[in-house]
Structure formats: C-alpha cells, structure tokens
C-alpha cells in the first residue's frame, strides 16, 4: 500500500475508494481490539501544528496517537508559535519535520498543507486549511455513516445550513460522489447555497440533487441529515453573520416526519443549530462521530506511517 513514497493527506481525493475502505476496516478493528494497537506507534512522534484554534480535531489527533502508544508535540495557536514572529509555514514545517515522524496541521490559509508537503519528507495530514479542505472530518463522517448504515451507497443525504463556506460539506460531497446511488438534498438560504464549482461537480458526475430552503420539506426523504454551523470566522461582514446564523435550528418538532433510522450528524462545534433537546434522540449521532473521528485518525496515522499491525 505504501511503497517508499511518502503519502500525505491534503484532500480526501488523495485516497482511493479502496484505501478509504481499508481505513474503515482498520478503524473497526481498532474499536473491537484496542489492545492490539496500543503499542503500534511506540517511539513515534506526531506533531500537531495548529495555527488556528480547534478543540476536537487537535485533541482527537493527540488522543489517537497516544492510544497507538506514540507521543505528541506541537502548538495549539499561531500566537504560541514562531508564526507570531512572522515565520513562514515553509520554515516551521521544515524545522518540525526534523523532530516528528508525522505532522497534522491546521492553518487558516487555503493550500498551506500543499506548501508543507513540499518542504518536508514526513507525511503531512491536512487538519483543515481555511474554508478549503478538512479530509479527516470527511473520513470521520464516512466511518460514522458506514457504521450506522452498514454501507456508503444507496442513500439520500441532506446537507443543511452553511453550504457555501462549509468545507466539511464540500469534502463530504466530493467523497460520496464516488459511491453509487447517492441523492443529495441541499438545504440552505440563498446566500449560503452550495458554490457553483461544487454544483458543477455534481452535474459532471450526473448526481441526483435538489436545492431547497425548507428543512421540514426535506425531512421525510432523508437517510442522513448533516447539519452545519454558520461560522462567524468565514464572514467578512458581521451583519450578514447575525442575519443568517439562526436560519436553521433542528428541534424535536422538526424531526416528527423524519425516518426512524435517520442519522443526524454535525461536524461540531455546535452553537444553537441543533437544540440540546435533540441530543437524547437515538438518531442523534454527532457525539458518536467524535469517537469515530479518533478511530479513523488512528487508522490514518498507521496507514501514512506504513505501519502494519500483526494479528494478535
């Protein structure tokens, strides 16, 4: 699978469908037999370079590496790194590549991990680059869907909220376009519609999709409901943010017409777009997603480091 070539994960399309399948299998095995993997990355170090704050992604990478018996180092904001002194991404990564065996990096600028991958010989994992890609969230989403539905094909996926800036939505669409018979229901206000370059991709793939503004209208059709947050940091204008942030709030009332086996997902953090009253509904899977996120990141670290764990 690895050969001698260094593999990076910049975009979800860097992985083939078979490779994703392999990661899902490993993640499922990790869930069943965690002890088998507990020393798999002994004496290996993961650097988490987070130029932008994050709770879940950084901690799940660190938890993943620690659960594999490895060690972690890094920083959690640009302010606590030499970036605050004006150091470039190139120089930071070139330096850290001498300390760690693998790097997970989040940066507010789009394409920063491409530069990173050019500057070091250790694998780079894109842990989010601005509004661009967030492939490990997509792997998390795919693992969650696969575990909850037992398949990644033949379903209707509703994507709701900020479809314009929501990088998780774009990556999830790109990933699921490679599976058979997926229908998309795109639910958003006009201002936050899916960008043209994404609808172009749907059209090119001949995908079945509809764009609507009513969440209630979409609800009965959905097998998956993927909610997103309207993110303050993606807006240049505070007024636009305030006007649009409460557009879609999921409540138990809105779920009345939903399928019994609907899977409700959210990349988190949530602000108020899902009422806390929904949390106890057994269809709410967004906290389960965070566990999937840890398992798939463990599988990814093993894959990129070329480590194969022997059967116990």
């Amino acid at each position: 699978m690895q050969g001698n070539k260094i593999r990076n994960l910049i975009s979800i399309t860097d992985l083939s469908v078979d490779e994703i399948e392999g990661l899902i299998e490993t993640a499922n095995d990790i869930e069943k037999n965690p002890e088998k993997y507990q020393d798999a990355c002994a004496h290996k170090q993961l650097a988490t370079l987070f130029f932008e704050p994050s709770t879940r992604t950084r901690l799940s990478f660190e938890s993943a590496m620690l659960s594999l018996g490895g060690q972690v180092l890094g920083f959690s904001s640009a302010n606590s790194s030499s970036a605050s002194k004006g150091e470039s991404v190139s120089d930071t990564v070139r330096t850290v590549g001498n300390y760690a065996d693998i790097i997970a990096m989040r940066h507010p600028k789009e394409g920063a991990p491409v530069i990173a991958a050019q500057r070091t010989v250790v694998p780079i994992i894109n842990a989010g680059d601005g509004g661009h890609f967030h492939p490990t969230q997509t792997l998390t989403d795919l693992l969650t869907i696969s575990r909850k539905k037992g398949r990644l094909s033949d379903m209707t996926i509703g994507l709701c909220g900020d479809l314009k800036f929501g990088r998780t939505v774009h990556s999830l669409i790109e990933a699921t376009l490679r599976y058979k018979n997926i229908k998309y229901v795109l639910i958003s206000p006009d201002e936050l519609r899916l960008p043209d370059y994404m609808t172009d991709k749907l059209n090119e793939a001949g995908a079945d999709y509809e764009e609507i503004t009513s969440l209630e209208e979409a609800m009965p059709k959905l097998d998956i409901l993927y909610m997103t947050r309207v993110q303050r940091e993606r807006f240049f204008n505070e007024e636009d943010y305030v006007r649009l942030k409460d557009t879609y709030i999921l409540t138990p009332e809105k779920l009345r017409n939903a399928k019994k086996d609907l899977v409700i997902m959210h990349p988190l953090p949530r602000v108020n777009e899902i009422s806390v009253r929904v949390d106890d509904d057994e269809r709410a899977c967004y906290f389960y997603q965070t566990l999937c996120g840890k398992h798939i990141r463990m599988a990814l670290i093993l894959f990129l480091l070329g480590i194969k764990v022997k059967e116990a």
Binding site: S90, K109, E110, G111, A112, V114, I115, G130, H132
Partner: protein, 140 residues
C-alpha cells in the same frame, strides 16, 4: 509603412491586435540592446487585424507564457534571412509565476517567495486552477 525584415532574430506573428505592448513588457524586450519593432493593427486575412513583434536577435522565449497571453501567436525563428523554425504558442498545461492567485484566503497571499502555480483544467474554457487553494481563473 515599411519596416526592415529580420536577418537573424524572431518574429512573433498573429498577436491579437492590441496585445503586443503587454507581451513586450512581460518578455522584458525593453531591456534588449538589439532592435525591436512593434507593429500594431496590421491587416490580417485570418483575424482582420493583428500585431507583430520583430526582434533582431535570437533570445530564449517562454512559450508557455506566450501561450497564456495569446494561444494564436506564431513564433518564427529567422537565421541569415531564412525562416528556420516555426513554433505555435499553446495554452500551457502549467503556469508558473505568470498570473497571481487573487483568492485572499490563499496561502500565496502571505507565504513569502513561493511560486504562483496554476494548472490548466479546461482547455476550451481557458480555465486554470491554483494548485494551492483550487481557485479557478478564466483567461480573457
């Protein structure tokens, strides 16, 4: 109007009318010590009007950059008064430091001295994609 023919040098022909000054500047022809002629609005059977640039010296030309400016340009290499080679500029597959990414969120807007690289994604639509942030640029 008469302009002497080139004895040994390059003739850039079939330049879209009005584009020659832009190409002159991009290629840095003002820095040459040899004779350079820009001829604008020449009658052309094929295009109606065209521009021509004559350079009285053989220089290294970035054909990719020329293709970006105008993919109809023909580059004629003249030696001792004879046409020795004719090349056609084509839309290049990759543009390095020819255009800059205008996406304010692109890493190229802050990272120092990295090349601005674009890849051709649609020849017909003349569409290029920034290799860092995927921003699309359509050539005019």
């Amino acid at each position: 109007m008469n302009i002497d023919g080139v004895n040994t040098g390059i003739v850039l022909d079939h330049i879209k009318a009005g584009k020659s000054m832009e190409i002159y500047e991009y290629l840095g022809l003002d820095k040459l010590s040899s004779c350079v002629a820009i001829i604008q609005n020449v009658k052309s059977g094929k295009y109606g009007k065209k521009d021509i640039i004559k350079i009285d010296e053989i220089i290294d030309l970035d054909l990719d950059a020329l293709g970006y400016f105008d993919s109809n340009i023909t580059v004629n290499y003249i030696k001792d008064g004879k046409l020795v080679e004719k090349k056609h500029a084509e839309l290049p597959d990759r543009l390095t430091d020819v255009i800059k990414c205008k996406n304010p969120r692109c890493i190229t807007s802050t990272e120092q001295e990295i090349p601005h690289v674009f890849e051709l994604v649609d020849k017909e639509k003349k569409m290029y994609r920034c290799v860092y942030c995927d921003a699309l640029v359509k050539l005019k």
